[in-house]
Symmetry: D3
């Protein structure tokens, strides 16, 4: 079987990450994998959610996910006037949870970190690429604070405890594949999204049969592919901060 | 460590399933596990979603999930006037996908199967208990059709290809536990929901670190517990139809 | 003329009232009359409506009414995304007003009493049965407060001043009937709902011609039937608290 | 006891009805009673509600009620963005039902009659004055059709079978009063709205205790007052069409 | 070319302005031009917008615009349940901005001035007539304050610094016309709305090609016509306050 | 007076236009002026608005405008759940009208042209830059149709009849300035947006006093500056298609 872009079954797409794509927010990352292109911006503010106890001195992190109308063909109408797009809700909850698993909310202090993932072009993998880009934007936003300047995940006191990346895996025509593009995703029997830290710990494991089911053995194969892919993505992230 | 209701780490809560709880819908199941109580009703109609090609002669299945205001303390306000409750959206998408993985949409014919899961009381595990109850309601709704009367999952031509159940597992204070009640869920480091068929095939695997992460070994332990629990739940489901 | 369930023109349907159906709210009543089945839960909180003057030391009582999708055939879509279901609004306002007429809001103290009427199955008379069930749920919620434990309507200081019940009457094919079931309601020329206390005082009188009108004489006959029915319902309510 | 505007307990306010206040709709009535001022416009169209069977050749009538922001003091915010104003919903349902009770929907033919009641100034009695004004606007809209030109309620074939008016009655400080103004309404123990035809038949009877209850005797007194008031209002309506 | 109502190309429609049309708000103006009829009410309150700094001691002015359903033929549905009517939003922003350009917000003091323009009948020019009427309603509302009683625009300390009126101009079949009625507006190639003060200063200039464009020379001609029309309208406004 | 970026009063900001920034829509333009950055995508479809008469064989063009949350500081919340952002509505109506003035809707044929302007970063002039970018995206979308391949505005049969650009002008501290950046815009007394074609014809003229007014002479000066700026912008647009 030939993959749409000539990759082997266990290869991720060529990825590019541009930090500082815009300048109004302290974190601003344009991330691309294949044709997928997402702008992840991270902002800090003092407006914590109303349900938080202000005396705790903890912060909070949340994410929003949105596809621009021109990101797909045919054009996608906007989420206006109260229509619920269940898929977007699901994705933004995933991105927010993933970040919170990697961030020490106490070390963050009483601050709100908002990460916005706006998909400029969609070609498969927007939810996992959102996590991978959001992590870099979050790091940059945190480094914009004087107390965390030039620090990195793992450094003592830095609120982001680890690097974090995500990748999709799936089973297409019975074969496990890493990092599905849109065409592969559309015909996948099983679709799985994995989020991991640079310490090889899971943050999220979401596997779904699409009008199909999968065996324990297939699950193991998919987890193995995902681990390989995430190693490569986290290496890319780390390289951004080294020179 | 003592569990809140005296169970061992690998025990599910006492479960009760009442078929035909109401009579306006062909499937109507009141399912309870501990204090959690959910009414799952399944209706059939001819109104397929607009995006389906009517020439395909396939059917569709979808689910809705809702918590009654009195199901929790403090009282939960209703989802009115366009507010998005992200958690409900996520759960109803999970229930719908799980059913579609077990249902042969061609064998269903050009019919819509709507399953509504209304939580009368919540004490942990509402999303997995919704799947387990919805599966029974769906079977009853299908059996209300003359052509499928007295058939069961696995019988030739019956649209529901397998029994289907779900259970939660989690890690609390470092210990993997099966079927979390509310108090356990509230302090779990990792929360996982597994949906499986009676052929031991996965339909959904969703594991989430709650401001925490988990190792490959912990994932394996949780999968093992879930499998044990689901075996027991599916045995309960099968017993409902045998006399 | 034969009534659908063999009753005489001046008989109410067999009624059953289960207190404590769920346990997360201090009042929780499952009430059934014929096929109609409603869960009425009553909660107490400190969150008074913003328009109330907090210095008055009065409380407030409000109600919400909702039909579950599976309560009728065909399935009823949910009230989401800001669609106004005028009938539900009208009913919940009726239930709230009826409770407030029987409750001494000063004696209630600065508390909010929320009553939720969720219709699990609808077969005529849901609005009047909601009032009858809500009254019992409200009594139980009030009795959960230490200061009102084991008190009943009529006891000194108990905020609910009287028992309260409601019943429908109507004119079908020119004949006045008590407690209409769905089929009778659907063809009634006149539809009337009466709420009364155990002191035979009216709380609400709502009579409506359905593309028809009615005479003074017919009004008198309907009021007489309603009074008889309410006597029987209030006797049932009182018996719940006596042993 | 002195009434706010010097009337006796059984007098209605001075009423004025201007037909043809605007000209874009075939029925357009500005109706005033005391300080209350309502514009009732009636339009005809071919767009019947989707739930009607087009083969029935029946028409339909519906009403909407709205208070302009400047109609009260303090200013009333608009019903925008999906907020439900329960009181407006209740009133517009009352107006619509009242009209349908007086209109022969078969004689109307497959037409939609929309009546809009927009309150320009509110000083008590807006719901009953809406009915009284809507009836005149509806008559004018029907007369704009060539087949019904110059006809009146009661004439053979005219879809509006009778004149129709409404009035409020109430109990204030224990005394039954006819046609309450705002100040009286605000302190009424019982508030009742009656809709009747020119044949002395009831269309709606709505009596409500406001944190209070009422006896059978009081109900009879209020019905007597309402009947007197409606006789006078219908005489006014009839006079509009006679010269 | 003959204009629909016999006017010359540079004539405004006959205008009538009734102050004190209703009495619940301190400013209440019914303004008519031809068949167009708008009720402009102006209210004062203490509720300033949340984004204002309360220490500034400045006030604010905002406007809302709405067309009643019966104001046009066919009937216009109401803006309920969150549907955005872009045209209404645009108009109410124009009215609000125009008032703020003429009002000294410091002199107004920490007060909110709300102006509501409700169109009772529409026949062209509702947005400009709303500005012209709103200005008079605003003056009356300000004069209702003791400190500004009997003052007028231009008087020292009066918050409304100048009279303010607006008029439409357009190009129809290549000819510039002043104050378009509905039929002219519907076929205009260019539609322009001008707001000016009594000192001949511009507040708003909005010219729009309707699937067409216009030259600098045509712009100059339209500005000249508008100036003439506004002179006449402001003369009318001033005359209202002089006797 | 020194301008924030060192420009002279009659200079536009450095502008860059990237065609084909994304590839899912036939027109995709990233346009920047100073720090302002907008993605304009143009899509074609067959779904014409419901109010169009399909027999006319005309097309339609509409635009949407949206600011990404990270485009400003502080972060801008999304337009979800039916909240009306009046400014966005106003801008998208401007962009749509401007395009329709330049497009021959008959020559377009029965097609819908949707243009989406999503602001990635905002630093003044987003509404005018949206028009300038939308025009280029629209040209590219039209050229993607075989019948219009390699055609340009002005070529016979090409639906876009002319190039189209927009620029802001304003009066800051009494001085007319061309192409305001955010800081200038925030303190401008007058803010004006002009849309013109390459034939020097006006499409839109919108001038607004911001709590201020302006004279005829100032209007003339601003129109002169705008004309100069638009000449330069249209020259840039034309150069994109020439090599």
């Amino acid at each position: 079987m030939k993959r749409c872009d000539g990759r082997d079954f266990n290869e991720v797409r060529e990825i590019s990450i541009t930090r500082g794509f815009t300048s109004k927010t302290p974190g601003s990352v344009l991330i691309r994998a294949g044709e997928t292109m997402i702008l992840c911006t991270a902002s800090l503010s003092a407006s914590l959610p109303p349900w938080m106890n202000p005396d705790e001195a903890r912060g909070w992190t949340t994410a929003e996910y949105n596809m621009l109308p021109g990101s797909t063909s045919p054009r996608k109408g906007r989420d206006r006037a109260g229509k619920i797009d269940g898929r977007s809700v699901e994705i933004q909850r995933l991105v927010g949870r993933s970040l919170r698993a990697a961030i020490d909310l106490k070390a963050l202090g009483p601050r709100m970190l908002n990460v916005d993932c706006d998909v400029l072009q969609a070609d498969g993998g927007t939810r996992t690429l959102s996590v991978t880009g959001a992590a870099v934007a979050a790091i940059d936003a945190l480094r914009s604070l004087e107390e965390f300047a030039n620090r990195l995940p793992g450094d003592p006191g830095f609120p982001m405890k680890s690097f974090l990346a995500a990748v999709s895996v799936g089973i297409v025509d019975g074969v496990p594949l890493l990092d599905l593009c849109y065409e592969e995703d559309a015909k996948a029997e099983v679709d799985m999204n994995i989020v991991m830290t640079d310490a090889d710990r899971f943050v999220e494991v979401q596997g779904t049969g699409e009008e199909a089911t999968f065996s324990e053995n297939q699950l193991a194969q998919m987890l193995g592919l995902a681990k390989k892919g995430i190693h490569e993505l986290i290496a890319k992230q780390k390289a951004l901060f080294c020179q």
